[in-house]
């Protein structure tokens, strides 16, 4: 059999193919040749064949039949074979395959090979894709190599150890001794990987974190040397010495300094030095500054240093480089809660970024703008934001509209301004407004009693122009149904009253019923509106006719409504006026409309409402955070919101609850209309009216980590309910940093006898892998004797097919939660 063609030859041939079909043919032919060559167990050309296979695999063709061949190559004595074999293993094998495990022995042998480059290959492969079993088996070898004096191997071993720890966190302890003198290395490669290893250990274990705090002076020294030392050709990047190492050290300092006064103080000077001395003309300098800013903001730095950091971000905002502007906006978003006033100073620059051409920058600027809106700047900011809403991409419009509604509600300087703003949003972005804002707007309008005439008039005029935007149409029909009498009587005070007759109004409403643009929901609104007008208008016959026609509508919803309204006319006419009376002002604690959620036994709907608005309150009480929650995609919110899909009924409720939480400065008090369970409000909503609008960190109970083991982290966040201070409302957030989901997750808790505990339903029972989401659950604890809160928790879940159960005591409750 002729020798198989060489790799480069094959590549050249395949590239001459003019069509996909031609390419496929060539590849199939070659694959067949390779397969027969594999069958012949040909050692000489195996390497070449696997290399070719890898090329074809990259083009998208299947290559699974080469997996075992990779193993044979790894086991070969030739370096060339091993190199390709390991590469193939990394590309073709993944830990889900059994074949993968067969590598373990080969890797073990190669880890002890006499040639360091072979050891390097083994370490690299293990460190990139070793499974948990492999890591367990080979951790000892890695630990041995971590102590070698060969820096080439030592740096690789360090990163391999990082991978082992990520896969099998329990093995972290065994690497501790080897870390003892890692930082005294001169070799930058080893230094860098050591810092990565230390970072990984500190991030995973609070004990390791406290243990390694003593390294802060050493790290500060290393960083100082990097900055002060002269030009070093080996590590220089645009005049800066080893920026990669600098950034890594800054990040480790951040972790070590967080929440610790002494460490933070020890690093203050060096941070100031880096912040002022780093060259900013190139990206590399700014990368270091960026990391420095993040570190300053996270540790307990002096206020002078913090101001320095924010000013750096402010300078970033003015930089020509888009990347830097983007990064500045992202960082400002993270700091806006804690250093609100400092960020406010840069407001005008941020607002200018709304006009940037770059989509990513615009989004960040929008989120930040909402975070900066307050009572003083509301008029100016709203002008900019409305202008932004007009011209932005459709993807933004929904978020922007929701944000504007929220901001308007919190800070509206007058009711007229509020209604005008709502109108403006509805008319310019009406079809992007979320459907669940419709009930909320209706409430708002209802509660602005003196504006009813003005509102209904403006809405009517808007309808005449355009009936395509459903949310606008729905709100308008509802208002016309409710306040139609004010409309025809021409009573408007705020602006020139329009002359409109009852027939004209009914024309418009009937037009909605028949229009193709109207959704079934909209039709429902207009039919009900027409019906309501029967007690407000005098043209009864016309209304009766419309209602009876729709009694035979194909749409079941419309049909049902029409039939019932018909029955009202026919048999219960005496009740009609009372039934169709003007809606009362909706109080916060009242329920009106059907409550689709079951009250006390914590069905999923109500729990989602609970969990949705609790986390946002236990933040340092800046409503900015609520806005950010609403807009989503915000990496600032330390509390992870669940992404459990909710039924439409409660989806509206969530939005309303978010709004219901906030205390308003004179605006109408919205009530979550249909979904607040009656027994909840005294605890949840009442407690929030006294929440200050801005930072009042002293009033807030800090969250705590209750459990952190095997990749499962459970955080508790707190909310005190003011009317009954004996009740602590705790929300648990369970996240999973392992690579497999935790299913059938059940959280149980028990408290000492003097307490009473109520556990509401969880958001879900799957904790997704890689921290992609969390499970939340609300616990209410009654503590009438004000005793120290203690809790025993039991966790059960299924992880990678095996059931896991664990018990833990939670004793580190912050005193504010039970005092």
């Amino acid at each position: 059999m002729p020798a198989p063609i060489r790799l480069r030859e094959l590549i050249r041939t395949i590239r001459t193919a003019r069509t996909q079909a031609e390419e496929r043919e060539m590849i199939q032919k070659e694959c067949a040749a390779i397969r027969s060559s594999f069958r012949e167990e040909d050692n000489t050309y195996r390497c070449r064949n696997v290399a070719k296979l890898l090329y074809m695999h990259m083009l998208g063709y299947p290559a699974h039949f080469g997996q075992l061949e990779c193993l044979k190559l790894i086991a070969s004595q030739k370096f060339t074979d091993k190199r390709i074999g390991y590469l193939g293993a990394m590309l073709l094998l993944d830990e889900r395959q059994d074949v993968h495990l067969l590598m373990t022995n080969c890797i073990k042998n190669d880890l002890n090979h006499s040639t360091q480059y072979v050891q390097g290959l083994a370490l690299c492969t293990l460190g990139c894709m070793g499974s948990s079993e492999m890591c367990r088996d080979l951790a000892g070898e890695v630990e041995k190599l971590l102590k070698t004096s060969n820096s080439y191997l030592r740096k690789k071993a360090a990163l391999c150890a990082v991978h082992v720890i990520r896969k099998v966190p329990e093995l972290m302890e065994m690497f501790l001794p080897a870390t003892k003198n890692l930082l005294s290395e001169k070799n930058h490669g080893v230094l860098h990987t050591s810092v990565v290893l230390l970072t990984e250990m500190c991030e995973r274990s609070p004990d390791m974190l406290s243990h390694f705090r003593k390294l802060v002076p050493q790290l500060v020294r290393i960083l100082k040397n990097l900055i002060m030392s002269g030009y070093s050709p080996e590590h220089d990047v645009s005049g800066i010495s080893d920026p990669f190492l600098q950034v890594r050290i800054l990040r480790l300092l951040r972790i070590l300094g967080k929440g610790d006064d002494d460490s933070s103080e020890a690093m203050n000077d060096i941070l100031a030095q880096v912040a002022t001395n780093t060259e900013t003309s190139k990206n590399v300098g700014n990368a270091i500054l960026y990391e420095t800013v993040l570190t300053i903001m996270d540790i307990k730095s002096e206020s002078g240093l913090r101001v320095l950091a924010i000013n750096i971000l402010g300078r970033f905002l003015l930089n020509n480089d888009k990347n830097i502007r983007y990064v500045a906006l992202t960082s400002l978003l993270k700091t806006v809660q804690t250093d609100h006033n400092a960020v406010q100073r840069h407001r005008s620059t941020i607002v200018d970024c709304l006009k940037d051409l770059d989509v990513s920058i615009k989004r960040r600027a929008m989120e930040l703008s909402f975070a900066l809106v307050n009572g003083n700047n509301i008029r100016g900011m709203m002008k900019e934001l409305l202008y932004f809403l007009d011209s932005c991409d459709p993807d933004f419009k929904a978020d922007c509209a929701s944000g504007i509604f929220l901001a308007a509600e919190k800070y509206a300087p007058s009711k007229r301004w509020h209604i005008d703003t709502i109108m403006r949003v509805l008319t310019t972005a009406g079809s992007y407004v979320r459907d669940d804002s419709v009930p909320n707007l209706i409430q708002l309008i209802t509660n602005s009693v003196e504006m009813h005439a003005y509102t209904v008039q403006r809405l009517y005029k808007a309808l005449l122009d355009d009936i395509s935007q459903q949310p606008l149409v729905q709100v308008a029909s509802w208002c016309i149904g409710e306040y139609g009498d004010l409309l025809v009587s021409g009573q408007c005070e705020e602006e020139e009253p329009i002359q409109v007759s009852e027939d004209e109004v009914l024309d418009v409403l009937e037009g909605l019923l028949v229009s193709n643009l109207s959704t079934p929901v909209t039709r429902g609104y207009s039919l009900t509106a027409i019906m309501k007008l029967s007690t407000r208008f005098s043209s009864l016959n016309r209304i009766k006719k419309v209602v009876s026609i729709y009694g035979s509508s194909i749409d079941v919803e419309l049909q049902q409504r029409a039939v019932e309204y018909n029955a009202l006319f026919k048999k219960y006419d005496h009740m009609r006026p009372a039934l169709l009376e003007r809606m009362p002002i909706m109080e916060k604690t009242a329920t009106n409309g059907p409550s689709e959620t079951v009250q006390t036994n914590g069905e999923t709907d109500s729990t989602i409402l609970d969990t949705k608005h609790l986390p946002s309150i236990s933040q340092p009480a800046s409503q900015a955070n609520d806005l950010l929650d609403l807009l989503g995609g915000n990496d600032v919110v330390p509390i992870i919101q669940t992404t459990v899909p909710t039924k439409p009924a409660s989806a509206g409720g969530e939005l309303l609850d978010l709004l219901g939480d906030l205390s308003l400065t004179g605006g109408p008090t919205p009530t979550p209309a249909s979904s607040v369970p009656m027994s909840q409000p005294p605890f949840l909503l009442d407690g929030l009216t006294s929440q200050p609008l801005f930072n009042d960190i002293a009033a807030v109970i800090p969250p705590m980590t209750a459990y952190n083991k095997n990749g499962l982290i459970i955080e508790f966040t707190f909310e005190r309910s003011n009317p009954n201070p004996n009740i602590a409302v705790i929300t648990i957030h369970a996240t999973n940093s392992t690579e497999a989901d935790m299913t059938e997750f059940v959280f149980q808790a028990a408290v000492p006898k003097t307490f009473q505990l109520q556990l509401l339903s969880p958001s879900s029972n799957v904790v997704p892998a890689f921290n992609q989401g969390s499970v939340t659950q609300v616990i209410r604890v009654l503590n009438p004797q004000k005793q120290q809160l203690r809790m025993r928790i039991k966790l059960t879940y299924t992880h990678k097919g095996s059931p896991v159960q664990d018990l833990a005591e939670v004793n580190n409750f912050p005193p504010q939660s039970w005092q």
Binding site: I11, R12, F79, C160
Partner: protein, 147 residues
């Protein structure tokens, strides 16, 4: 700098290198490659080099006819990621001498070997260009045959 993956692809969307630092099934990888190429290739010129995708930050940079695209976790430093991509290009350039896409097409395995001396498990393992070049050179010397 926990990178999840690093991809190189041409302006026509042809994959030239794929390095995965997380275990993912083949099907998942193909989907990600498709998503990345679509997202990155549709970016207008003069926009910033950062994107959001799922809960990851995507950093990409174009060098001649090749797009270098990597995915980072939320707490990672995007500006430094640009430096990492640049460093990799410099390493390739030093090795191949004025590297171009064809070099990477015909010598893809070398591109991987160089990458494996620079990054491991999504983290940087060596910050000295000379050191990496020496290691790759020494490994090349150990090779017995040409493919």
């Amino acid at each position: 700098m926990t990178m999840h993956f690093l991809l190189l692809f041409s302006r026509q969307g042809k994959l030239r290198l794929q390095k995965w630092f997380l275990p993912l099934p083949e099907r998942e990888r193909k989907k990600i490659v498709k998503d990345m190429t679509t997202m990155v290739l549709s970016r207008k010129p003069r926009t910033c080099n950062f994107l959001h995708w799922k809960d990851l930050k995507i950093v990409y940079k174009r060098y001649a006819s090749l797009y270098f695209c990597c995915a980072l976790e939320n707490q990672d430093n995007e500006l430094l990621a640009l430096e990492i991509l640049h460093r990799y290009v410099e390493l390739l350039d030093k090795y191949f001498g004025n590297v171009c896409e064809l070099d990477i097409i015909f010598n893809f395995e070398k591109a991987y070997f160089i990458l494996d001396e620079f990054l491991m498990g999504g983290e940087i393992q060596e910050t000295s260009k000379q050191s990496i070049a020496k290691s790759v050179e020494a490994s090349d010397m150990l090779q017995e045959v040409r493919h």
